[in-house]
Amino acid sequence: MTQLPSTEFHPRWYREPVSTYWWIGSWRYSLFILRELTSVAVAWTVVMLLFLLRALLSGPDAYTRWLHRMQSPVLIVLNAIVMCFLLLHTITWFNLAPRAMPVRVNGKRVPEVLVAAPNYGLWVVASVVIAWFVLRTS
């Protein structure tokens, strides 16, 4: 920041230092940090997917072992937590996106709820389609 001059009447300005744990101080800041940490859940899920792909590449036995390993209680608990973070990411992402990309119709700004709603619709459809591809029996 620009260095502030001190004068006869203002021998010094007091500046409060920011605590390293500023994000614990208020629940709004905590929620923000949780929102930012959803990125770790995103990376975790991708890594899980990479291990699945590796197992598929290695053959049926590897795939069975992978399925078996995913049943470990530790992984299930972790995945349950990761699931919560992924949902937090999806919800915050869809709710904030209309602020970054305002939609205008006839010069009037469309309410954010109406912009976010189709995203949720798309999310449901995409989820159903993927589940169908994975689960359908040929």
């Binding site: 940490l37 990376a43 995913m70 869809f94």
Partner: protein, 116 residues
């Protein structure tokens, strides 16, 4: 006047990855991380999944599904580390860890999907 920085490029990757992650990742984690291990649904057979992953369109989709969300993570996690722990002085380490991780993950996914 300073030249516009390349932050815009990384922000675009972050945003695109955020969309992909928001739309597609929850269902994948739900199926493979919770529903199959807990026996709520019986997992698909090896042959079925392999056939699915070998489909060219599915390969492209899986590649996007792996790489973009990793760049989303890299960007967001970088700022979380900066702000949450106030470690701006470790700038290079954080940059290499985040974007290096994303590039590595992208290469691994590309390799796996090409060999599939």
């Amino acid at each position: 006047m300073s030249k516009p920085s390349n932050e815009g490029f990384f922000w675009l990757l972050f945003s695109a990855g955020g969309v992909v992650a928001a739309v597609f990742l929850p269902v994948i984690l739900f199926l493979f991380g919770l529903a199959f291990p807990l026996g709520w649904v019986s997992p698909p057979s090896f042959e079925h999944l392999l056939a699915l992953a070998r489909n060219p369109l599915a390969r492209v989709f899986l590649f996007v599904l792996c790489s973009l969300p990793l760049f989303h993570w890299a960007h967001r996690f970088r700022f979380t580390v900066y702000d949450g722990l106030q470690v701006k002085h470790l700038n290079e380490v954080v940059l290499v860890f985040c974007y290096g991780g994303a590039v590595l993950g992208t290469l691994v996914s590309g390799y796996l999907l090409l060999r599939m």
